[in-house]
């Protein structure tokens, strides 16, 4: 493999259940046959890439966020804290200040503006980050605790961990959350290339359009992979042609693939067409990147 800048790819989709994890895990494992690769599961609300690897746990740490803690002995009940909180995470009920950690965005306003220092910030765990190794593959995931609402800080922290520890690896692949909202933006905003995976159905096309608008707004180079090819209709292909979007590969709809996935197995060694598709995707990413950097 030629020497070049490390490549960061996000695998995303508008619609859920179109094959982000299937493609992420198989592409990562395929690359790992030859060289070092980092797979980061950024779907922190429901990470599942880890189901496909039996890695050795290298490191584990809590994901912390800072929240205010009320010190009753210092508080004069002036009410500034609740007035400055944009998220209503701090409210005043008579003689009591109540903090709602899950609503808190760690902006420090209440803490900094409290004249009596009665709301010092303390760390609170919101989930766990895990780092596994399996041969050439580094697998990193974060998992939010039940009841936590904010995926973005966990995603940001997980990316930073991966970049800090394995930033020199030739390939980093992000398995993104579904949709087009803040967590997806956070997952996609600093990558070199985005693979949008979709299914060739009206529903798939509808959400693909939203995903395309999103990555275009972020000015990211991207291409489309059509999964479950053969179902639905030709509208996704027509749309990509009209919009001049490269179709990187098509993965046929197959009961065998669904069966392997459902039993937690990688697919490309059992289904040769998938291996071909992975190589096509990889070639395309590398070619596009070379073009970008020339």
């Amino acid at each position: 493999m030629i020497n070049r800048k490390p490549l960061k790819i996000a695998i995303a989709s508008g619609k859920g259940g179109t094959g982000k994890t299937t493609l992420s895990t198989n592409l990562a494992a395929y690359i790992a046959e030859q060289q070092e690769v980092v797979l980061v599961d950024l779907d922190v609300e429901e990470p599942n890439s880890g189901l496909f690897f039996n890695g050795e746990l290298i490191h584990e740490e809590p994901n912390l966020k800072m929240i205010p803690q009320w010190d009753e002995s210092k508080c004069t009940l002036c009410g500034i804290c609740r007035k400055v909180c944009n998220f209503h995470a701090v409210i005043q009920l008579g003689p009591t200040i109540v903090v709602f950690p899950q609503l808190c965005h760690s902006c420090y306003a209440c803490s900094e503006l409290c004249p009596e220092n009665a709301l010092p910030m303390i760390p609170k765990s919101t989930g766990t980050l895990k780092d596994f190794r399996s041969g050439n593959l580094h697998f990193i995931e974060s998992r939010m605790d039940v009841g936590e609402e904010q995926a973005v800080p966990a995603i940001s922290k997980t990316k930073n961990y991966a970049a800090g520890k394995y930033g020199n690896a030739n390939f980093t692949i992000y398995d993104s959350p579904p949709g087009t909202s803040c967590p997806v933006i956070e997952a996609v905003k600093d990558v070199d290339f985005v693979i949008l995976i979709t299914e060739p159905t009206p529903f798939g096309l509808h959400d693909l359009r939203l995903a395309v608008e999103t990555v275009r707004a972020l000015k990211k180079p991207f291409g489309v992979v059509i999964n479950r090819y053969g179902i639905g209709n030709d509208e996704v292909i027509e749309y990509c042609t009209e919009e001049d979007i490269p179709i990187l590969a098509k993965i046929a709809n197959s009961r065998k693939i669904a069966g392997l996935y459902s039993s937690g197995k990688l697919i490309y060694n059992e289904v040769p067409e998938v291996k071909t598709a992975l190589q096509e995707i990889l070639d395309h990413c590398l070619k596009m990147m070379e073009g970008e950097h020339k």
């Binding site: 609740r82 909180c85 944009n86 998220f87 209503h88 995470a89 409210i91 005043q92 009920l93 008579g94 009591t96 109540v98 709602f100 899950q102 609503l103 965005h105 009841g147």
Partner: protein, 112 residues
């Protein structure tokens, strides 16, 4: 007794708003004076975050003895409302305020 309703309108004939945090109005009925008063909750309704706790703060300031609502407050709002000694009656959606009040008087509304 002071009774608070989450309401989609401002009169006895308005329908109960099933939402707690994002209710359109909080309507208060004072049984002693037999007067109805209205708090416009639209500023909270359009908040992106923390509508439940913000409305709880308002309810606290109004100090009702009973709250009549629809779906019932969510987890954060429930935690906040525990600080208030108040009976919370739920599942009153689809009723007008008057019907809900009658059902409350007859003990037909479910306590959360």
């Amino acid at each position: 007794m002071k009774i608070a309703f989450t309401s989609s309108g401002t009169t006895w004939e308005s329908i109960i708003d099933p939402r707690f945090g994002r209710t359109e109005y909080i309507v208060m009925y004072d049984e002693e004076s037999q007067e109805l008063s209205v708090v416009d909750n639209s500023s909270v309704k359009n908040e992106a975050h923390g509508a439940g706790t913000a409305t709880s703060q308002r309810i606290f300031e109004l100090q009702p003895d009973v709250l009549i609502t629809g779906n019932g407050p969510g987890d954060n709002a429930s935690a906040a409302l525990k600080h208030i000694k108040m009976k919370i009656l739920v599942n009153a959606h689809d009723l007008t305020l008057r019907q809900a009040y009658e059902q409350y008087k007859n003990g037909e509304l479910k306590e959360q």
